[in-house]
């Protein structure tokens, strides 16, 4: 049985903000199925009582000294942006037309 369906892959693509093509969906569905069946092996390990490791360095709440250090100028920070207006990042509309009106 397949671990993941083509419809599920389409849903994942939407969640991932990837406008994939129909052709890509066919390819990815097969490939992700092979990969998921392989990685599902982690389920064989009896680990109910084992604490999870998110990170190998046991450091918490690392804060720097509260002193002023030079940062990027607005011009530098905006230098790689695809679109800039009034010293800000310009974005496409974020609301639907009918909602905005």
């Amino acid at each position: 049985m397949a671990a993941i369906s083509r419809e599920e892959v389409a849903h994942l693509a939407r969640l991932s903000r990837l406008a994939v093509t129909e052709e890509e969906l066919d390819t990815f569905a097969g490939q992700l199925d092979v990969i998921l069946q392989a990685v599902a092996q982690v389920g064989e390990v009896a680990a109910a009582d084992i604490p999870p490791t998110s990170h190998s360095v046991p450091l918490t709440n690392v804060l720097r000294e509260d002193v002023v250090v030079p940062g990027l100028t607005p011009q530098e920070a905006l230098s790689g942006a695809p679109d800039v207006a009034e010293q800000r990042f310009r974005v496409p509309r974020i609301l639907d037309e009918d909602v905005a009106s």
């Binding site: 939407r14 392989a38 999870p52 190998s56 360095v57 496409p92 639907d96």
Partner: protein
């Protein structure tokens, strides 16, 4: 003067410091070599001739002014395109950052500049460091100088190929699942993954933040150690940076080069030998183990039973972190924007931009990670993988109670032909079968050339406890003193 491009970094630095050559002369020799061979090797995505010559002139001026220079001053270095370089293009091998010139230097690059090394340019890599061959680079693969029809490993194949093609004596890589060590193994060069947190991630474009580790690549163990010393150490701008000094890896490499391993206990990891490895790889590995024993090392076999789950755990943890990290590529702050016609919404533009800007492997991993983190699957996949990570760490700590360091082949197979594994993504993942456990644990690992199989290089991996990077350098240098270095056929 004999060919400067054939020399080690140590030799070059000595000649520059002694005034027998200049940093400019050394830099010109390497830029000439790049011009002569890189159309065939394709190690570089960007060559910064002007910047390199300016940096070299500065070193020469400082020397002329009587300044004390560091141990690598005047030595050229190639930098993997995953690290930001102020004003110099940084693409991460991806179309989504094509043409981006970062407004700041990564910590590693800052330290390279401060040490007087000369950055030649940026090296090719699998897109966002996801891959084992450089075939997933959006700008075309690099070629292995041992056989141009074969892969130079990945993701840092460009850095390794630059070393093997004598385009640079030193290079920087980054290792999330083996991306420094596996390219080192298949190109006959040295690649070291430092302890996680031992080298700064500031300015390293993030793939999997709990695993990503920048590190040194070179043609000799001592050169790698010198580079490690220059780039390593605490960085307040990386919150996971370990606030301790770098272990004395240079002294350890010099000690190892004496060829005496008396009193050193090495463990062969049972789970990382045999299964899946090519016979030629195993033969070279076994011969090297005999060589290590002759140097006085005590060899025992050690079992790490949970290592067999390292690859599946890694391919849940790394894609999960990647799906989160790569959300920043939204077509707003840097890089590509596609489909902004004045009518489309931000979300539509974002989806079109990411579709056009990311290649197939990056898309697969983003979707895989999104799946593993989604409600309903989180516990069974991501949560379970994190528990397996704990068990793998316990295997390492139990093993290091018995032995000083662990050894294995670096990768199960020698450099494979370009195009032979791209249609089956999981086959590509197997290249990192032996390197991944170390990343999950966080300790250091190094690949050192140990022999040839059918005329292609084989690497031996040495793994040490967290913050005992010096130990692996000692063993690596000792092995190098016994088996020598390996030179590819002339290009």
């Amino acid at each position: 003067m004999s060919d400067l491009t054939r020399m080690t970094a140590t030799e070059i630095a000595g000649l520059v410091a002694g005034g027998e050559t200049s940093a400019v002369e050394v830099t010109r020799a390497h830029l000439d070599r790049i011009a002569a061979v890189d159309d065939r090797v394709h190690a570089f995505l960007h060559v910064d001739s002007e910047g390199a010559l300016a940096a070299a002139r500065e070193v020469d001026d400082r020397r002329a002014a009587g300044e004390e220079l560091g141990p690598l001053a005047g030595v050229p270095v190639a930098v993997k395109d995953v690290l930001t370089t102020k004003g110099v293009p940084t693409t991460v091998g991806s179309r989504i950052l094509e043409g981006w010139r970062p407004p700041y230097d990564s910590t590693i690059v800052q330290r390279l500049r401060a040490a007087g090394t000369v950055m030649l340019g940026k090296t090719n890599m699998d897109e966002f460091a996801m891959g084992s061959s450089t075939e997933y680079s959006a700008y075309g693969p690099s070629h292995n100088p041992w056989d141009l029809a074969r892969i130079p490993g990945g993701s840092g194949g460009g850095s390794a190929a630059a070393l093997a093609a004598y385009e640079a004596p030193l290079a920087i890589g980054s290792d999330t699942g083996g991306s420094i060590r596996q390219p080192g193994a298949v190109t006959g060069t040295v690649g070291a993954k430092p302890t996680y947190g031992g080298t700064s991630r500031y300015g390293l474009v993030a793939f999997s933040s709990s695993l990503d580790t920048p590190g040194p690549c070179a043609r000799t163990v001592l050169d790698a150690a010198l580079l490690h010393q220059v780039i390593g150490g605490h960085d307040p701008r990386d919150s996971t940076s370990i606030p301790q000094p770098v272990p004395d890896v240079v002294a350890a490499a010099r000690l190892g080069a004496t060829g005496d391993l008396t009193g050193v206990r090495l463990g062969i990891v049972s789970e990382l030998v045999g299964e899946g490895a090519e016979p030629g790889v195993m033969a070279a590995f076994r011969e090297s183990v005999d060589a290590l024993a002759k140097l006085g090392a005590e060899i025992v076999e050690v079992s790490c039973p949970n290592f067999r789950y390292a690859l599946p755990a890694y391919y849940l943890i790394a894609p999960s972190e990647c799906s989160s990290n790569l959300a920043r590529f939204d077509g707003v702050r840097f890089g590509l924007r596609v489909g902004d016609d004045g009518n489309r919404s931000l979300e539509e533009v974002m989806s079109l931009t990411r579709e056009a800007g990311f290649g197939p492997e990056v898309k697969r991993r983003i979707m895989l990670g999104t799946y593993a983190l989604s409600s309903g699957y989180y516990e069974a996949y991501y949560g379970q993988a994190q528990k397996v990570r704990t068990l793998i760490t316990r295997d390492f700590t139990a093993a290091f109670d018995r032995v000083d360091a662990l050894i294995s082949p670096t990768t199960p197979f020698v450099a494979f032909p370009i195009g032979s594994r791209t249609s089956d993504p999981y086959q590509m993942y197997l290249a990192d079968l032996y390197t991944i456990p170390t990343n999950l644990y966080g300790g250091p690992g190094i690949s050192v050339p140990c022999g040839l199989s059918e005329g292609l290089p084989v690497g031996l991996q040495i793994m040490a406890p967290t913050m005992a990077d010096d130990r692996m350098y000692r063993v690596a240098a000792a092995l190098e003193s016994a088996v020598g270095t390996f030179t590819p056929p002339a290009l």
